[in-house]
Amino acid sequence: MSMRPIQLNVIDLPKADYTGGPSSLCPGCGHDQISNVIIQAAWENGIAPETIAKMSGIGCSSKTPAYFLGKSHGFNTVHGRMPSVTTGANMVNKDLAFLGVSGDGDTASIGIGQFIHAIRRNLNMVYIIENNGVYGLTKGQYSATVEKGSKKKKGATNENPPIDLCKMAINLGCGFVARSFSGSKKQLTALLRAALSHKGMAVIDVISPCVTFANNDESYRSYNYVKGNEEELHTVDYIPHFTPIEEVEVPEGQFEDISLFDGSTLRLETLGEDHDPGNPVAALAAIHEAEENEKHVTGLLYYDSEMKTADEALGLTDTPLVDLSEDELRPSKAALKELNQSFRA
């Protein structure tokens, strides 16, 4: 019997070093596909697992950090508050790669304030929303991202307009805004790999069908609906910094290369109409148009690499604060003496 050699990534680790525990979500859940993409992307990018911090809130999506990257520390925090915990952790250890996983309830309702402010500060993290339009863990109530006219398996049609998290992120000036579908493994993997190579807040809103409560054809977030109504802005290819770009085959049609912070490239190949990811108005127009036509637009909607991250804006010392010594953390005896004296003067 022949043994296939174990495939190793650029830092000589097998994919097994990036997996997690068994999932307890419903069989067929879109979230499990996203977990697999996370494993794949982190492994392919060759990120050392111990340098990643997995962050989540509460809900089906927020349970998933138990199912990937078992060699990374993580924090399954409280409902809607993952961004603030990530902020605190990022401030004291800016060298960690923060990977946040949240859901539509966790982000668009209870946590919308923290989502907004994390973007406003340009917190250096990847923020994945596993967006199915329903609250799964509490048995299928609508969330705030569900489209007007969409209907889940049981109950009335939703009549409220949706909160579009990508629109919101673009309006807030987020430097990396993408939308994808849990069923589009290739696209999602490339986008996530690019997000991991980006410095600053990267929001990926992933349509991820809830197989139990909203996978009926009248649901705009069912597999069948999304498969039939997805409009890709472009095809995406990720070229890691450790692969010389000259060696990558040049596509036949039009394409645009986006250079990412770590030297990697995201190659956008034009499909039909050209989309300029540097233009926020074009990005918003694409979303609006898709919304009017009851479609889901996917791809890299908006990109801007110029902004300072939250930790950079504070002018922190080079060493992560968690690694500072006692001498650097506690002023000297002489400093206190001088301080007391200054008050007496």
Binding site: A48, P49, E50, T51, A53, K54, P65, A66, G70, K71, S72, H73, G74, F75, N76, T77, V78, R81, P83, S84, V85, T86, T87, G88, A89, N90, M91, V92, N93, D95, L96, G113, Q114, I116, H117, R121, A310, D311, L314, G315, L316, T317, D318, T319, P320, L321, V322, L324, E326, E328, L329, R330, P331, K333, A335, L336, L339, N340, F343, R344
Partner: protein, 600 residues
Amino acid sequence: MANTVNDFTVNIATANGTGSQSANLILLHSMFEMGVPVSGKNLFPSNISGLPTWFIIRASDEGYQAPGDITHIQVVMNKDTWLADVEKAEPGTIIIHNMDVKLPVERDDCIVLGMPMTKMARSINPKLARMIANMYYVGALAETLGIEESAIASAVAQQFKGKERAIELNLQAISEGRDFARENWNCDIGYSVTARNKDPNTFLIEGNEAAALGCIFGGINMLSWYPITPSSSLAESIISWLPKLREAEDGGATCAVIQAEDELAAAGMVVGAGWAGGRGMTCTSGPGISLMSEFIGLAYFAEVPGVIWDVNRVGPSTGLPTRTQQGDLTLLYEASHGDTQHIVLIPGTVDECFEFGWRSFDVAEQFQTLVFGFSDLDLGMNRWVTAGFEYPNQKLDRGKVIRTQEQLDAIENFGRYRDVDGDGIPYRTLPGSGLEPILYRGTGHDEDGVYSEDPEVYAATVARLKRKIEGSRDKLPAPVMREENDKQVGIIYYGSVENTITEIDDILESTTGMKVSTCRVRALPYHSEVERFIAEHDQVVVLEINRDGQLFGILRKELPVEHLSKLHSVAFSDGIPPRARVYAEMILETLSGDTKEVIA
């Protein structure tokens, strides 16, 4: 006229935002400069400009710091409260008023002294007349009370640090106020100050600034905050001192400061910083604690260190946002849903604000839990004497953190929540270390941190947590006690009641001959010495600034039942810092056997 030296209370009624705070602090500091034992209380409104504010200055050779029971000198400047201020003056009060307000002072039974303060101020600077008018009452009081000119000059210089023009202008106004008083009034008002030997080491400082400096000397890594009176000045003090005290060699900051979007986020950032291995802290007041409660429970259950300072204001709800109370004690001790118990450090002096500022981080990391600093508006925002802060007497205590593979290997059967040492405190590894990574969670978890709904696992986890916090009792600051030989009556109190206790004690002794022991609790869970104190006294009164007797409630729940019949609650709060006579009378009433008040 008989002359009372260094024993009087001045009440100054002004409108908020008119610059009176500078005038009041100059008075306070000038007397302090002369060595007169003095305290100041600012009763200010929740408002930027226009609403009434009162500043109470008490001089007392006895060292009494509570607002006095009687106002001896009333300064009236504010037309909105004018009539009420004048009316409530006791017969014989000296009333100093601004004649330009054009309101009557019809009190034949008082000594009424008027000065055209606004007009005089206008003659030296028309634009700033409204603010400078306040300096005329400073001059008037300086002249009538005999405050030395050098002391005034030094206080003015301190108030307007380096602003030469302001110093000159204000000194001129004060001098003109003095001249007017000397030329037009009979300045023998019966009260005066006499210089005492001032300890050259002493200075006045607000509790919030003292706590802020303590945090900086405690190695704070991350300050997250959301503005709320009366805690904002604690955060702002940290921000202003960090560049001077905590810059790294490369010029970078060693503490991140984030103004959060709300108190929930501020608490979340503290939890995140603690989880990542840093020293995170936020400061707030009661409404903020209510909002932070979910995160407080997470920190307790997931065992994440962090520090939250609560500078208490009057609740419930928005309450009286600029007044003082000890109404949050129970809230802090048991914050969040489910069974919880939190460590609370309770400073009673500015020295302790500094000390507990740094110590709180050590305690939090030692016990891997959230630690509260519990101050209040009176301690936090008024100025108190210190002889200088003392340098921490121990190195930073980072607790049981595993930083190397060797340390990890030394522990047999490591688990994030396994009680290896039998003290309920497990070992932790940090994100980024690559050592035994786990997914922290607020859900049920076993000794390895893995999700569990197992009944035995849950019961064992919360039992260990209780044991862990229980184990902190005698490692936290011990009570400060003064015990009489004859152990008849003991008074238990905490926090800013410290400023009133001596006077209460003296009133009790002078009116009834009763000699009481005192015990100031400085932490929760309370030290075993507190129980001994209670055990050894016949009657014990628990004195606090709230309605319900919150520490009394905690003691009643945790003490052995045989002590309960001797425990009495004396609790009162009206927003004003505690006046000694009010409490002394309540104590006497309670002990006299008025069983309505006595819980047997």
